[in-house]
């Protein structure tokens, strides 16, 4: 088996990379695929919290690299879904404890036994980013509809384009608030896609449920009713190659929105 290694990155911090990693990973695992999530944010790890797995971590990626344990020992199985496991970052070390070559080797080993390896990337464009990207062949760039986040995403997309191994780069637009878009206070999906010019893999609404789900250590995809959960499930399906229409975030919609929606879909297929 050769699984797909996808890096989830953004440039800017706090736009939703970790949330996205946890949710897409959980959704893919629920769909029956074997998934490993790698947290590469050394010293600022979060992914374990979002999955509620902090209390189970004995070994981290640094222990694997420094040969204090085998890779298999460091994989923490998810509480609910045995298809999902986590390779945690070390909380007490910094980015220099790992290099790109080592991460690539770990990804290569993991993809032999898994369908998906999702790499949660730290913010920035320095070593942490270089490490996270090293083993990946696909990238999902997360941004919010804000000028600063978009500027950073643009920079990342440029950097990813210089990496030969990365064959696909897609956009995930997070924290979208239809009301603000309507009142012209927030950039629309089309505006963002227009600037960044890469295919869209998902639109995730702003959802306060994400905050409570983070605190509970339970990804929102497990919540059947949450809109953001549905949006993430759709992202997983798109990753699996299915054509899923983008969610109608704005319930009572007019003809303009319909056209916009169709436009976004069209872009996504490019």
């Amino acid at each position: 088996m050769t699984g797909r290694v996808i890096v989830i990155t953004s440039g800017k911090g706090g736009v939703g990379k970790t949330t996205t990693s946890a949710n897409i990973g959980t959704a893919l695992a629920k769909a029956g695929y074997k998934v490993v999530l790698i947290d590469t944010d050394l010293g600022l790890r979060n992914l374990d919290l979002l999955l509620g797995l902090e209390n189970r971590i004995v070994y981290t990626i640094v222990d694997v690299i420094e040969e204090r344990c085998k890779l298999k020992q460091a994989l923490v199985k998810d509480k609910k879904n045995p298809n999902l496991s986590l390779l945690a970052a070390a909380q007490t070390r910094d980015k220099t404890a790992v290099n790109a070559e080592q991460l690539k080797e770990i990804c290569n080993t993991l993809k032999e036994k898994n369908d998906f390896v999702l790499v949660d990337c730290p913010a920035g464009i320095e070593q942490g980013f270089q490490n996270a990207v090293a083993g990946a062949s696909e990238a999902i760039v997360v941004t919010t509809p804000e000028m600063s986040a978009i500027r950073d995403a643009d920079r990342i997309i440029g950097l990813l384009a210089t990496k030969e191994e990365i064959t696909s780069t897609k956009l995930l637009l997070n924290r979208v608030r239809p009301n603000l878009i309507k009142s012209n206070e927030m950039m629309s999906v089309d505006d963002v896609v227009g600037i960044l010019e890469i295919p869209l893999v998902g639109i995730i609404p702003e959802d306060t449920g994400i905050i409570t789900s983070t605190n509970k250590g339970e990804p929102i995809v497990n919540d059947e009713d949450a809109l953001a959960g549905k949006a993430y499930r759709n992202v997983a399906q798109r990753i699996l190659g299915e054509e899923v229409p983008f969610l109608d975030l704005d319930e009572p919609k007019g003809i303009v929105a319909k056209i916009k929606n169709a436009f976004a879909k069209l872009k996504a297929k490019v």
Binding site: L49, E54, N55
Partner: protein, 329 residues
């Protein structure tokens, strides 16, 4: 402890009117409160003519509430205590003559006379160790509220009043069985990880006395990502936040909230202990045994609180068990 059978709707009268001072009172109350029957109950406290300051009464209230019980009302002869109660919104009333509620009463304090000498010796020893460890005697900034219980206690007083029966091992054992590491996922505070014995190669299990090891004394908050690693005992006056890690060859004592990982006896010492004013460690490790906090208690954010229930974790029969308060061997 004498228990006279009676009945009342979901309540008990705890008669502490024979207590001679607050230390005695707090001590008796805390051992009574450990009785499983008292949990979740309404409590009427008979306090006799003991004068309690507001801060002292507050500590007593916190102690009762920490065992999920609550004060229905207090019965006191002291004006000072009454004033304290009023200021805290605690009802002051009289236990009626024909009250049918079960009365719980400590054995007469003087009965413990015989044991006094032994207890005294033990206590003196403990005090010496504390002095070595530089335990501050004044109020601790990071643990507000705690000093209240202790502020009136001179060590001398303490050594005289502890009735030896309060250290009854079987009692504590039963408690540990309720609170410790049982395979029951629902009720255990900590659950052993199935990692097997995680001692590094070449390290042998031992039970060297941690009392003779050097101690690293730290007066600070340990933040996420910070690690303390020491061959002897580690004493932290302050909180150890989630994401922090303490590794000690000997015991770990946190005078505050322990929220990170704590590994005592890291060189294979199975007699090492982890203790904290609030034991909330995400993982407890002693020697080669690793245990995780139960998911039902999984609060990923720092939960600060001024209510403390000191606990001590140690290995017993190959399991990590937790005691609700310090035990003397």
């Amino acid at each position: 402890m004498i228990m006279e059978k009676g009945f009342v709707e979901n309540g008990f009268i705890i008669d502490l009117s024979t207590a001679q001072n607050t230390t005695q009172l707090v001590f008796e109350l805390s051992s009574i409160m450990e009785h499983p029957d008292v949990k979740g109950k309404q409590i009427c406290l008979k306090l006799g003519n003991l004068d309690l300051k507001q801060s002292q009464l507050l500590s007593i209230k916190a102690l009762i509430e920490s065992m999920n019980a609550s004060i229905a009302f207090i019965d006191t002869e002291s004006e000072q205590t009454e004033a304290s109660a009023v200021s805290l919104g605690i009802i002051v009333s009289k236990v009626s003559e024909n009250e049918n509620a079960q009365i719980i009463q400590p054995q007469k304090f003087s009965d413990a006379d015989e044991e006094k000498v032994i207890v005294k010796e033990e206590e003196t020893k403990t005090v010496e160790v504390s002095a070595d460890m530089d335990m501050p005697s004044g109020p601790v900034e990071t643990a507000e509220g705690v000093e209240d219980i202790y502020d009136e206690m001179s060590t001398e007083e303490l050594s005289e009043v502890i009735p030896s029966e309060s250290f009854d091992r079987t009692d504590f054992g039963a408690f540990a069985a309720n609170e410790g590491l049982l395979p029951n996922e629902e009720t255990s505070k900590y659950i052993l990880l199935d990692t097997g014995n995680v001692l590094p190669e070449g390290i042998e299990e031992n039970s060297d006395s941690t009392g003779s090891m050097p101690t690293l004394y730290l007066n600070q908050t340990l933040r996420s990502g910070q690690t303390v690693s020491y061959e002897g005992n580690v004493l932290i006056v302050g909180d150890a936040h989630p994401g922090s890690e303490i590794v000690a060859g000997g015991d770990i004592t946190v005078w505050g909230i322990l929220g990170g990982i704590a590994h005592a006896g890291s060189n294979g010492n199975v007699s090492a202990k982890v203790r904290a004013l609030k034991l909330n460690a995400i993982q407890l490790r002693i020697a080669g045994l690793y245990a995780r906090r139960n998911d039902t208690l999984n609060v990923p954010y720092v939960q600060k609180s001024n209510e403390f229930t000191p606990e001590e974790a140690l290995i017993e029969n190959g399991k990590i068990v937790i005691y609700k308060k310090l035990r003397r061997d």
